[in-house]
């Protein structure tokens, strides 16, 4: 019973990955919108883009990690 609950928890935690995907898409999409408005400034901001994506993705990775912990380590 406990094990099944852990699996359900892992599934719930995996929702976080989807949320992170929304976040990453938001970052990239807004970057693209801005870059199309002012293409000359885009090249200098790619580093910022990657940092933003990394921060957004890290949280998704955290939820993935929680899922893994529930699956394998609890």
């Amino acid at each position: 019973m406990e094990g099944q609950l852990a699996h359900i928890g892992a599934g719930l935690a995996a929702i976080g990955s989807g949320a992170a995907a929304i976040g990453v898409g938001n970052v990239a999409g807004n970057f693209l919108a801005g870059a199309l408005r002012n293409p000359s400034a885009a090249a200098s901001q790619t580093a910022t883009l990657f940092i933003g994506i990394a921060f957004a993705e890290a949280l998704g990775i955290f939820s993935f990690l929680v899922a893994l912990l529930l699956m394998f380590a609890v």
Binding site: G3, A6, L69, F72, A73, V74
Partner: protein, 180 residues
């Protein structure tokens, strides 16, 4: 939970697969950390002692070479422009010289021609004068001869007609007749 299931499934399953997440097996962290530090120190030493100074030197050298090459190329370009100017100047000079030579030659030829023409004219004039003189002489000679012949003929005629030919009278009459 993992251990429980594994216990249920028997120890064979545990030997075959991972005990949960290998990442969370803290018993081997010391080993990994030790070798990671060794790895990082080795890479750091290799990079900072050998690789990075070398690449920096190569990049600096390349930058220098490029700068030098650009300078050399500009110098060559300037030289080329100079050479073109010199060539144009030489061409213009040569043209002027050629024209000068042509003009000189023309003048010379003209002078020669004039001289030759003059000489020829003079010769022709001299010859013409000579010829005229000769003709005049011949004509004078002819007149004399005519006069002689006329005198003689007149004398003969006068004699034949029974008159006494007086040479002086005859000459005078012939002269008058010829002038007339």
């Amino acid at each position: 939970m993992a251990t429980k299931t594994t216990d249920a499934a028997g120890h064979a399953a545990e030997a075959a697969s991972a005990p949960g997440m290998p990442q969370l097996d803290f018993s081997n962290w010391g080993n990994q950390i030790f070798w990671l530090l060794v790895t990082l120190v080795v890479i750091y030493l290799v990079l900072s002692r050998i690789a990075l100074p070398r690449i920096a030197a190569v990049l600096a050298e390349r930058q220098g070479t490029i700068t030098n090459d650009i300078a050399a190329a500009e110098e060559l370009k300037a030289k080329a422009v100079e050479a073109e100017e010199a060539y144009n100047k030489a061409l213009a000079d040569a043209k002027a010289e050629a024209q000068r030579i042509v003009a000189e030659a023309k003048a010379e030829i003209q002078a020669d021609l004039n001289a030759a023409t003059e000489k020829a004219d003079a010769e022709i004039a001299a010859k013409a004068a000579e010829s005229e003189k000769a003709i005049a002489e011949i004509r004078a000679g002819a007149l004399e001869s005519i006069k002689d012949v006329a005198n003689a003929t007149t004398s003969e005629l006068v004699t034949a007609l029974g008159g006494a030919a007086d040479d002086a009278e005859v000459a005078k009459a012939v002269d008058a007749q010829m002038k007339g």
